[in-house]
């Protein structure tokens, strides 16, 4: 089944030369008028942005519309560097029913992302240069930059190291066995040593299998009365402690994925204070939803690591606001409707998030300033803990966690030779997200562009909506619709 599908898609990939002449939007100039610029240098308003081909050519007040240029209305919107996701599951190759590179990157474009790091737990896994090259080739036509992450071990089995040097030569900067933590400390030590010599990063999914295998949700009062197996917080923290020590031992950089517990961020905070080379990410769902969502046994809310308690949410947001946690990564994990309709303990963990990440971040992290009253528990609205509100963040900090900080971790920023994460200046690449930070919208999972609809925010009102996404000078997402 899969083989013809891939070949068919490969045939469909357009050559770069053909792309330039055939694309409706290519070879065009665009003038973005009326937006407020937000990037690492701060907030600037009253400036228009002129784009020519794949670069920004001019940023100035009141640029007159050049001949042949198209106007993109950004009135009332924020123009920021395109968002960068460190943690996306594109499911191709292997599970194209749930998502493909095409549909996944279209969803990314709809979420304001111009680059995504795709996780290697595909079928076959990204544990060889061949698969890396295949994904890079297929994604040439995608609606955003796709950067494959490679596995740490062959087949993600946690035993033998994968060919990291070869994959690194193909452009892989991040190695992870995501979905599983590397259980064996000796293997982890060797992986850290191997990767550090390459300048690559080991990204760890922290979870001790002995404590977390076959678990369905957070271990707490709710799991005890629901009669399901719960994963204790320490299942995550134990591996995090181990890997902090191992990284120090090997003098290696380590990145911790989707942290979910208050203990984890405290450990990262201490490690950073001690000057260790540590980075960390949290997901939009871990800073907004608690394990109570699972009380109806709806497997949409099953995710790994599981949704935790209220107190954990507060600590995660605090860690984001004080910089302990570097990035917000979506852990966009599409699953088919059928697989999510299995019994809770058989359904696969994961939820989609590319299209709602920015809105969730704005809704949660700008709770005070975006006009949402403190008693935010009205029906149909994402409930925000009052304790979270004290850690509300500025728009620059929110975009930092979603754009240039993750770009730097993935090696996609300009300093590392990439084209993402800004800053916005003449000559910089035109990878931009344009969003209305105060627009209210209701999530309708069935209308999201991802091929799957397992969104935990379905039916909820969120604040902040992506309007346009410019990828390499091409408006891939314009006025709320994907252009191709």
């Amino acid at each position: 089944m899969e083989q013809p599908l891939i070949t068919e898609r490969l045939r469909a990939v357009r050559q770069p030369a053909a792309m330039e002449s055939s694309g409706e939007w290519c070879m065009a100039k665009f003038l973005m008028r009326g937006g407020t610029l937000v990037d690492a240098t701060g907030v600037r308003s009253g400036l228009d942005v002129l784009i020519d081909r794949s670069d920004i050519v001019e940023i100035a007040p009141d640029i007159s519309l050049p001949k042949g240029a198209r106007l993109i209305d950004c009135d009332g919107c924020v123009i920021s560097p395109g968002l960068v996701d460190l943690h996306t599951h594109l499911r191709e190759p292997g599970n194209e029913e749930a998502e493909t590179i095409e549909s996944g990157t279209r969803a990314a474009a709809a979420g304001g992302y111009t680059a995504v790091v795709c996780m290697p737990n595909t079928e076959p896994p990204i544990d060889s240069a061949a698969v890396v090259r295949d994904i890079i080739f297929v994604s040439k036509d995608a609606l955003c930059r796709v950067v494959p992450a490679g596995t740490i071990t062959i087949g993600r089995e946690g035993e033998r190291l994968s060919p990291m040097v070869e994959m690194n030569a193909c452009g892989v900067r991040i190695f992870t066995d995501d979905g599983r933590g590397v259980q064996n400390a000796f293997v982890m030590r060797r992986a850290l040593e191997y990767a550090s010599a390459l300048g690559a990063i080991i990204a760890q999914h922290c979870e001790v299998d002995d404590l977390a295998e076959h678990t369905v949700m957070n271990e707490g009062y709710l799991s005890s009365i629901m009669g399901v197996k719960g994963a204790p917080n320490c299942a995550e923290e134990l591996m995090l402690i181990r890997d902090l020590e191992l990284a120090a031992l090997c003098d290696a950089r380590v990145h911790f994925m989707h942290l979910s517990t208050s203990g984890s961020v405290e450990l990262v905070r201490r490690a950073k204070l001690a000057g260790k080379q540590v980075t960390a990410e949290v997901t939009p769902h871990h800073i907004s939803l608690t394990d109570e969502m699972l009380s109806g046994y709806n497997s949409i809310y099953k995710v790994n690591p599981p949704l935790r308690a209220r107190s954990d949410i507060t600590e995660l947001v605090k860690a984001l606001s004080d910089g302990t946690v570097d990035a917000i990564a979506t852990d966009h994990a599409p699953h088919t409707k059928a697989s999510k309709e299995l019994p809770l303990d058989q359904a696969p963990p994961g939820m989609i998030g590319l299209e709602t990440a920015l809105a969730v971040a704005i809704t949660v992290l700008k709770g005070n300033s975006s006009g949402i009253p403190a008693e935010v528990s009205s029906p149909g609205r994402l409930t925000i803990e009052p304790s979270v509100l004290q850690y509300s963040m500025s728009m620059v900090d929110i975009i930092a966690a979603m754009s240039w900080k993750p770009a730097a971790i993935a090696g996609l920023d300009i300093a590392s030779g990439g084209r993402h994460g800004g800053p916005l200046q003449p000559g910089a690449p035109a990878n931009l997200a344009v969003f209305d930070p105060s627009a209210e919208w209701k999530v309708d999972a069935s209308r999201l562009l991802s091929r799957s609809s397992n969104s935990p925010f379905d039916g909820l009102y969120l604040t902040g909506r992506v309007v346009h996404t410019i990828y390499e000078g091409e408006p891939v997402y314009l006025d709320g619709e994907a252009t191709r």
Binding site: Y221, L222, I225, E292, S295, G296
Partner: protein
């Protein structure tokens, strides 16, 4: 409180639950409860049963409030009618041998025990008397609300007996049909007769009473409330919400 929420909030359940216990004790529960042990005959909770019957009888699928219009029979009228019926029963069956009374839950029960009293006074015989709830035999299950069903207690073998079914009001005949069906599950009676306090007409089944307290022509939409305390005719009006 939404019961599904209770399931989650264990503690709030326990709190609300205890409150409920207190309230329950003060509440008049309308229908009798029994275990398998036989219920004492004299403890039927007469008043409660009357209320329950009114509930049940007026529980049309539509619901509403019974507004009494006029009294058709007084207490004395009812007494006289029952005495006459008692005499008729003894006359028709040539005595009280192998005679038994079964009151249909819930309006017929009080009448049946009153009849037993009168018959035993007249004939000096103890008439075996039971109660029968026909809810499980009705043909309109699912059209009316479920109530905690009333007691069925037939502490004697009806086989080869003459059974007189006693009910308050004979209307469509559907209750009696259900009663005949139910009775056949208890044994093979030699004959079954029907005594009613009021026959209000509008039969929907070929059923004819053997003993009638009063023939009462009614409109289809009217309601008749017949108890030992009298017979009242009235209407059910839609309840204000």
């Amino acid at each position: 409180m939404n019961p599904r929420e209770c399931g989650i909030m264990f503690h709030s359940i326990s709190f609300a639950g205890r409150l409920h216990t207190l309230q329950l004790r003060d509440k008049v529960t309308l229908i009798k409860y029994t275990t398998v042990k036989r219920v004492r005959r004299d403890s039927y909770g007469y008043r409660r049963l009357i209320l329950a019957e009114r509930e049940r009888k007026l529980a049309t699928p539509r619901g509403g409030v019974f507004v009494p219009r006029s009294q058709v029979m007084s207490v004395d009228d009812v007494d006289r009618a029952l005495v006459r019926i008692a005499h008729e029963i003894i006359e028709r069956n040539k005595g009280a041998d192998s005679l038994s009374l079964i009151g249909l839950q819930t309006g017929g029960v009080a009448l049946a025990f009153k009849l037993r009293e009168i018959i035993s006074e007249i004939s000096n015989a103890e008439i075996p008397t039971g109660t029968l709830d026909v809810a499980f035999y009705r043909d309109d299950i699912q059209l009316r609300p479920v109530l905690p069903e009333a007691v069925t207690d037939i502490p004697f073998d009806i086989t080869n007996m003459t059974v007189v079914l006693v009910d308050d009001v004979l209307f469509t005949g559907r209750t009696v049909r259900a009663a005949l069906h139910a009775l056949s599950d208890f044994g093979r009676a030699r004959s079954v007769q029907l005594a009613v306090l009021v026959d209000r007409g509008h039969r929907e089944l070929p059923i004819r009473p053997d003993y009638i307290g009063k023939n009462l022509p009614t409109r289809l939409t009217e309601q008749v409330d017949a108890t030992l305390e009298g017979v009242v005719i009235g209407d059910v009006v839609k309840k204000q919400r």
